[in-house]
């Protein structure tokens, strides 16, 4: 089959690779009908996340048709079923899965020792996302092996199109969880850094959950425009002071809830801290650039909440923890517990509260994948979200 394969920094190719096989009795194989490129894939593309190997198949936002099931699936899935595949692989049985903390499933990561070494404990297996999280082949391919498939799937009604449900795999529940864990009150201002796909979903979620004011910060004009279409007030951080504007919008008190949907590749305009980060990153003394985190901590209202869906991989530096502590901030973060939210979200899509396909700007075949990674990374051609039809 053909698949988008990682070969090194900024080197992704459309290769022919062996078809996946059933390896365990709880596996299923799907024929991928649609998959997407995610901001998380960019961290791999730019090689900011450690743990990739040449030959790894990319992709963790996929859906398709079940073409083969293992013996242990026990009727949970059958050939011909149409499923969306959550990016977190879940066993459904461990303590964490039982609590609904699926992204820290204790059993699905087959490289537990690596994750435990890096993070102290294992986290869930993820598709197409480094050997720290299991090194599972991803879904930017014609076929995908889904481990623990009896649990690792989302069934969707036939009445909804692929494009309406594809993002249940990741960015919709990610934006949703980011907003949910802010526990939004009707009096709240929610400030969201990053108007990428995750930020866009977080904006819609915060609006649906009834925030008084949603503010979005980015610098890419067309992304800010899409943010405004979703009901956000926007701040272009290349042109205005984020801190001053946020304080102005909240009578000097700062937003109650802050969401970081940027993650470790944050950019900043000629501020001292960003240069410090770039220099340290260049000589590998720091793996991530926490500019957004610093800004959030500084501007968040005391006793407020920081919700961090943006991905960090390793070490960050110069975090004003004194401000976190003295302001009594709550920090919530994590890879998304996708299946915890999807049943509810399917209903909301079906009900017409939200149609996540609004974010799609590019539709391509697998062969254009490598080129489109670059377009998406460089924010060229108005690119916000790419859907691939293998």
């Amino acid at each position: 089959m053909r698949a988008l394969v990682w070969h090194g920094t900024q080197d992704i190719r459309c290769d022919t690779v062996p078809d996946p096989q059933i390896e365990h009795e709880r596996d299923a194989i799907i024929k991928v009908t649609a998959c997407a490129i995610c901001g998380s894939d960019l961290h791999l593309y730019d090689h900011f996340m450690p743990g990739m190997k040449s030959g790894d198949i990319m992709g963790h936002e996929s859906m398709g048709e079940v073409v083969e099931v293992g013996r242990g699936i026990n009727g949970a899935l059958k050939k011909g079923d149409r499923i969306v595949v959550p990016f977190t692989i879940i066993c459904g049985e461990c303590d964490q899965c039982k609590r609904g903390f699926f992204s820290v499933c204790e059993r699905s990561n087959r490289n537990k020792h690596l994750a435990a070494k890096a993070f102290g404990h294992t986290t869930a297996g993820l598709f197409g996302y480094t050997h720290l999280t299991g090194g599972y082949a991803g879904g930017q391919a014609e076929y995908l092996r889904v481990p623990f498939a009896d649990k690792t799937h989302i069934k969707v009604p036939e009445s909804l199109t692929d494009e309406q449900v594809l993002f249940l795999s990741d960015i919709l529940p990610t934006g949703w969880q980011a907003a949910v864990q802010c526990e939004i009150e009707p009096t709240d201002t929610v400030a969201i850094w990053g108007a990428g796909p995750v930020g866009q979903m977080a904006i819609r979620s915060a609006v649906l959950l009834g925030a008084k004011q949603v503010v979005c910060i980015d610098r890419v004009p067309e992304r800010l425009e899409m943010a405004r279409a979703g009901g956000a007030i926007t701040i272009n951080f290349a042109e205005e002071s984020v801190i001053a504007r946020l304080n102005e919008l909240t009578a000097g008190k700062g937003p109650e809830k802050c969401i970081d949907s940027v993650g470790m590749e944050a950019h900043a305009t000629a501020t001292l801290d960003s240069m410090y980060d770039r220099a340290k990153q260049a000589v590998m003394l720091e793996s991530d650039r926490p500019h957004v985190l610093r800004e959030m901590i500084y501007v968040c209202r005391p006793a407020g909440t920081l919700s961090i869906p943006g991905v960090y991989g390793g070490l960050i530096d110069k975090i004003p923890f004194g401000a976190v502590m003295n302001k009594g901030l709550t920090i919530r973060t994590g890879q998304t517990h996708v299946n915890r939210w999807t049943d509810d979200l399917v209903k909301r899509i079906d009900d017409g509260q939200i149609d996540p396909s609004f974010v799609i700007t590019h539709r391509i075949g697998l062969e254009q994948g490598p080129e489109m990674y670059k377009t998406f990374r460089d924010k060229k051609d108005g690119c916000i979200k790419v859907v691939i039809r293998p």
Partner: protein, 180 residues
Amino acid sequence: MRYEGPQSRRRGHPDEATDTLARGLGWFSIGLGITELLAGKSLARGLGLTGQEDLIRAYGVREIGTGLGILASDDPTPWIWGRVAGDALDLATLASGLNNRNRQMDNLLIAIAAVAGVTAIDIICADTLSRETRKPLRPLADYQDRSGYPRGLESARGAARDFAVPKGFRTTDLLRPFAG
């Protein structure tokens, strides 16, 4: 900076060629700086500037700093002007060797010519960068109609207030309004 990544254009610098030139000057600064720092002595000798070794090494540190500044900043303009100022210092220092006791006059003249050439490039680069407009870039595509709410923005506001936040994700009671 509209485009992310080390090779990509910087915000407010839609002119890619000048930005590339600026980066080139950044690397040049670092290279020259390292040479001045490590080979201060032989440089001084070769130019007939003996006694100025420490000054040359200090200039090396300055060059490296400027180079890093150019490469690391989103806006290299002030750093390139910094280079222009540095060039003036360099020229003044070189000129101090223009006396008939200097037995390396040929080398010195070549160095002065080279620095003068680089100075011209620096000035052109800094001036072009300074004149670029800081106006926001226009959106590359029109997404004004992409609300994502099939029933419109107004009916979306608060439409999911029915959602009960699960226990593990709720704000701690400590942070709720305190009724007394």
